[in-house]
């Protein structure tokens, strides 16, 4: 019998996944700032402390470097911590433990150990929180072998990929766009996983492949509806994992549509768009391209406070529509 499917928000889906993981495995526990009685800055842990107690839902002091390191150490020695950064921006304070330690310990020790830590990063702009609370730093971590980096875009994936992350023997970094937390979608009850390293074709189309991540997936889908009315048939590929990247799904899609556009919120240059584009340029799909590849990414600036400027720094639905139109109609 199929599991009951309900509408849950993205935040509720994550909370449910954490509860299931903790029910299934005593080694799983949560660490982070204000995740206990406060319920987390975005209410993702919610009331879990009431269910699992302060021994397994641990409020840390405001100590990101130390806190992340403690999670790494616990993971190294048999526990299964899920560490919440209050904002993904604070990963910058913990880079040492993430990049030098979590990512490399297994390798440096010749495979003798592994570090099954999960870290969660509320990311992205759109909340008026200005330059130090709005960044999209996933490509930073995507650059580090030893880490897996995922960006679920739906409540369904958020739950299934978190459960996959907990089951994974290696460090998994989950970037959750803050504006997705309230997004609702169908989520089955009970345990299931969505594999890390597999992209998802969220909409099939003939004219153009849009490879999008995180919140840009929904924006691309919304743009695709408008474009369809104009006779442009868009295929939307939700990358879901940026390391290790699912190259084949993107290659196959581009071979079908002959056009590629990458849409992501992080700063445009030196990021995911560059990687996907180069990967296609290196692949057999290159010969199928009918037009230059287009990247739509964030502006080359920190995120401003002013709301109009803030919107202008990241791709919006009209930007996707315009760029897709130009690409397909050959204006480029």
């Amino acid at each position: 019998m199929d599991a009951m499917v309900r509408e849950l928000s993205y935040a509720q889906a994550i909370q449910e996944a954490m509860a299931i993981a903790m029910d299934m495995d005593e080694r799983v526990f949560l660490m982070g700032e204000d995740i206990g009685v406060y319920g987390g800055a975005f209410q993702v842990t919610g009331d879990l402390v009431e269910r699992f107690g302060t021994e397994r839902v641990i409020d840390t002091p405001i100590s990101e470097l130390g806190g992340a390191g403690v999670a790494v150490g616990a993971a190294l020695t048999g526990m299964r911590p899920i560490f919440e950064f209050q904002f993904s921006d604070f990963a910058t304070l913990a880079m040492e433990q993430i990049v030098n330690q979590a990512a490399k310990i297994r390798f440096m020790l010749g495979g003798e150990v592994s570090v099954p830590v999960v870290m969660r990063f509320p990311a992205g702009s759109g909340t008026g929180a200005a330059a130090q609370h709005s960044q999209s730093l996933e490509a930073w971590l995507g650059h580090v072998p030893g880490l897996k980096v995922i960006q679920p875009a739906t409540p369904y994936d958020a739950k299934g990929m978190l459960l996959a992350a907990v089951a994974d023997p290696d460090p998994v970094m989950i970037f959750e766009h803050k504006l997705l937390y309230k997004m609702k979608g169908p989520v089955p009850e009970g345990y299931y996983t969505v594999p890390i390293g597999k992209a998802d074709i969220r909409r099939e189309g003939r004219d153009l492949t849009v490879v999008a991540t995180s919140i840009m997936v929904q924006k691309a889908l919304d743009a695709a509806v408008v474009l369809e009315a104009e006779g442009i048939d868009v295929e939307v590929v939700d990358l879901r994992t940026i390391r290790p990247m699912d190259k084949q799904t993107v290659i196959d899609s581009v071979k079908k549509t002959s056009r590629l556009m990458c849409v992501y919120e992080a700063v445009k240059t030196l990021g995911i768009g560059a990687e996907v584009s180069a990967m296609i340029a290196e692949s057999e799909a290159f010969d199928y391209l009918d037009a230059p590849i287009v990247r739509l990414g964030g502006a080359e600036t920190p995120i401003p406070y002013n709301p109009e400027l803030e919107k202008a720094t990241v791709p919006q639905i009209p930007d996707i529509i315009t760029a897709a139109r130009d690409l397909v109609r050959g204006a480029r």
């Binding site: 700032e33 002013n306 109009e308």
Partner: protein, 342 residues
């Protein structure tokens, strides 16, 4: 600061520090500014509720004496680094509320031209190097400013404000150590309001008093009642004198309380109504200062009324200024990322 005249000083011999140190006019100015901080934040809160300001903000209502007391002995050239809860520091260091409102409204006339908002409020001209979105982020920066002051022989002192939560960041410990080994003119001011967001100091911090941590870095650690203006100002006065004399840093722990939630999304589930009520009715820093001023004959009720009215007017004017100011042009999004060069 100019001292009160000799005769006046004698008649005040038994009064607390600030009443011996400062003139009546100066002390009334302090009351004015404490009200200005409070009404500024109330005004900002109301604008936020009405949707005129977006994002979030962290109000320091209840902590006004701490900001004012610490800044009292500072000269305009002296510098501060501030925190996410930095409106009071900014006003205490001399900022104009109209340009702060303009910043909160995202306008070009704001202190950060609409790019920073509440969490990055600054007034470089008055020596405020900026609030900070990163807990503890300003502490090493203050040490760097103090290093500049020493190397450039400017005679400036630097104050670093931070919260109790920040004292568990590595940056705090590294910065204090460097300030101590290089004997830098910096004052570390921990505004201990009992909580870092929802986490009480008892749950987050191994020592009972954060001032105890000064011992680990061989500097004086001073505890003051942060809601009593005179106590704070006196401690600051001594620390500034020590810094200016080249004797190095001081850690001041100013024990206080925030009346409002951590930010706009706080449900206050980690503290009781009674606790909040107690601090609001029995230990409000403005009420305490006001009654001392009245008791010692520095002001009467009419004087207090006049201050409240003038503050209300300045706030109303500030909000009007912000509303009437222009928004930045979206084509200028790329400005200020790098230094413009001719």
């Amino acid at each position: 600061m100019t001292r009160a005249s000799k005769a006046v000083t004698d008649s005040r011999a038994n009064l607390p520090f600030v009443y011996r140190q400062y003139s009546a006019a100066q002390l009334r100015e302090v009351l004015y500014k404490m009200y200005l901080i409070r009404r500024f934040e109330e005004g900002a809160e109301e604008c936020y509720t009405r949707g005129l300001i977006h994002g979030t903000m962290h109000l320091s209502i209840g902590q006004e004496a701490s900001a004012m007391g610490i800044c009292m002995p500072l000269a305009q050239d002296d510098q501060i680094t501030s925190t996410h809860r930095g409106h009071g520091h900014c006003i205490a260091k001399g900022a104009e509320v109209k340009r702060m409102f303009a910043e909160f409204f995202g306008k070009t006339t704001g202190y950060c031209k609409g790019r920073g908002g509440s969490m990055h409020i600054a007034d470089v001209g008055k020596g405020n190097l900026g609030a900070n979105g990163i807990v503890g982020g300003g502490i090493p920066i203050a040490v760097g400013a103090a290093l500049s002051a020493k190397m450039m022989k400017t005679g400036k002192v630097v104050v670093s404000f931070f919260g109790d939560g920040a004292n568990n960041e590595g940056a705090f410990h590294e910065a204090l150590n460097m300030a101590a080994i290089w004997k830098l003119p910096v004052i570390f001011v921990c505004e201990n309001n009992g909580y870092g967001m929802s986490t009480s100091t008892a749950r987050s911090t191994a020592v009972k008093n954060i001032a105890e941590r000064a011992a680990a870095y061989s500097m004086p650690g001073v505890i003051v009642n942060g809601n009593i203006f005179s106590e704070v100002a006196e401690a600051s006065h001594q620390a500034v004198a020590r810094a200016r004399a080249g004797e190095g840093p001081t850690l001041i722990e100013s024990k206080t309380y925030r009346h409002r939630g951590h930010s706009k999304s706080d449900r206050n589930r980690y503290r009781t109504k009674e606790e909040i009520e107690d601090w609001m009715s029995n230990r409000d820093p403005i009420t305490l200062f006001e009654s001392e001023l009245r008791e010692f004959g520095f002001i009467d009720n009419k004087g207090i009324e006049a201050i409240r009215d003038a503050v209300a007017q300045e706030i109303a004017d500030g909000i009007e200024f912000a509303k009437a100011s222009p928004s930045p042009d979206v084509r200028d999004t790329g400005n200020y990322v790098y230094t413009e060069q001719a």
